[in-house]
């Protein structure tokens, strides 16, 4: 080998594109008004404190952790349209992120959450808890089975409704990649009427949160499927980079 060492992707993470994410202050989403910092964020290169992160082993997972139709059920399957959600966790260079912990939560088919602060009159499903989790495999893949959540009203404007969605919390390989987001469903006109979604500056960015109906992944006569890929911050390579001792 005559060249300098090949790129080794263990440098700092790419700067977060704050113009792509929703800003902190989105007045049409009223709760953000008093919960948004007004000062500029302090920008700093990643240090080890951000380039490291906790590891979650597959051993912690229970067999039904990724089956929301069954993981809370006592008298029968959860009620609602049966769906599989699957996809990959990738970084901004398109590389798979194996070993990523995904935690997901959602309302039931009627749009009701199992939570003491929830007051929507839609019925609780006694067989639906609403949470699940996965750890991505070597190719960055994850999959789970659930019911399609319903839309629900929320106190913001007098008549605001959330489009059907599933919340995702993602741990990648470093604390710098920590992310919470929401998945929406292809073809839902309510996506474009939601003050939370519309806090995202561009249509192009919103579209990356809309899962596609994936007919090839459906189980005939049984379960529909949606494909949802998640992208975490990419990482600089260390080719030609001055590195500190021992790095």
């Amino acid at each position: 080998m005559r060249n300098a060492p090949a790129p080794n992707h263990n440098g700092g993470f790419y700067q977060r594109d704050r113009a792509w994410h929703p800003p902190a202050f989105t007045p049409n989403y009223k709760t953000s008004v008093l919960r948004s910092p007004k000062h500029a964020l302090l920008s700093l290169n990643n240090t080890l404190s951000e380039m490291t992160g906790p590891v979650f082993g597959h051993a912690m997972l229970g067999e039904l952790d990724n089956d929301l139709i069954r993981n809370y059920a006592t008298t029968g399957d959860a009620i609602g349209p049966r769906i599989i959600v699957h996809g990959r966790v990738l970084d901004e260079d398109g590389r798979p992120v194996p070993g990523a912990l995904l935690e997901y939560w959602q309302a039931n088919a009627g749009g009701r959450y199992r939570h003491k602060k929830e007051s929507y009159l839609a019925a609780i499903d006694p067989n639906f808890g609403g949470c699940g989790r996965s750890i991505t495999d070597e190719e960055g893949r994850y999959w789970f089975r659930t019911i399609k959540p319903g839309a629900y009203p929320w106190p913001n404007g007098v008549n605001d409704w959330r489009p059907a969605h599933i919340h995702f919390s993602i741990f990648g390989h470093a604390f710098a990649q920590r992310l919470i987001t929401q998945m929406y469903f292809e073809g839902d006109p309510m996506i474009w009427q939601c003050p939370i979604v519309m806090g995202i500056p561009s249509k192009e960015a919103v579209e990356t949160l809309i899962a596609a109906l994936d007919r090839e992944a459906t189980i005939p006569m049984d379960t529909l499927a949606y494909k949802f890929d998640i992208v975490l911050r990419g990482r600089r390579s260390t080719m030609f980079e001055n590195r500190m001792e021992g790095n």
Binding site: N45, Y113, H167, Q182, L232
Partner: protein, 208 residues
């Protein structure tokens, strides 16, 4: 036209919403039959090396009201300054110290409380030592993208004065928003770290 770099964009953040507990700490809100316990809520093992400390505080909005629906995560080095988990290349951290904890704030008082150990020093990118610190990550309803900050320790004045991050703060009066003073709770050192999302005492948040 030029060649495409073929990069993807990071998935846009969305708020954790009011029901973040269902997905992250279901046992805390009474969904007890799905997971055996809540990840990140396990106490710090007694075998973990280092000085045991408590970190506690509340989170305030721009009107001074306490948040009762926030979720707080912390990530920190062990007592020797080594990170458990991925990305640590300098050596093996204390196997009994998880480094990461997570907690919903109390639904009535808004108080969070971590029992952990005091971290050691970690090097900055240029090899200088950073002052001991704990990374905080806060999500809640109304927060569109997770807020990251750091807790520094009030009794580490000398190292705080040379810390590369604190040195970057232009308005020096704001440095105090990142420093938790040392107190005591039943003989255990206790650091109080309140977080202000907005207003005169707004905490310094990081883009890092």
């Amino acid at each position: 036209m030029v060649q495409s770099l073929n990069r993807l964009k990071e998935s846009p953040s969305q708020t954790a919403g009011p029901y973040v507990h269902i997905g992250t700490t279901p046992n805390f809100i009474g969904i007890n039959s799905v997971y055996p316990d809540d990840l990140g809520l396990r106490p710090c093992p007694a075998e973990a090396k280092g000085e045991r400390i408590i970190i506690t505080g509340q989170i305030f909005d721009g009107s001074g009201a306490v948040l009762r629906d926030a979720l707080v995560e912390i990530w920190q080095a062990d007592a020797a300054g080594l990170y458990p988990g991925r990305g640590e290349y300098r050596g093996a951290a204390d196997p009994n110290f998880p480094g990461w904890f997570r907690q919903p704030v109390d639904g009535v008082t808004g108080v969070y409380r971590f029992e952990t150990i005091k971290p050691g020093q970690v090097p900055y990118v240029d090899g200088r030592k950073m002052a001991p610190h704990v990374t905080f990550w806060i999500v809640a309803r109304g927060i569109n993208i997770g807020l990251q900050t750091r807790l520094y320790f009030g009794d580490e004045q000398a190292s705080n004065e040379t810390d590369p991050l604190l040195a970057r703060v232009e308005l020096k009066t704001r440095v105090a928003t990142l420093i938790a003073e040392r107190g005591e709770e039943n003989g255990v050192p206790c650091y109080k770290f309140d977080i202000h999302l907005q207003g005169d005492k707004e905490t310094i948040f990081l883009d890092i």
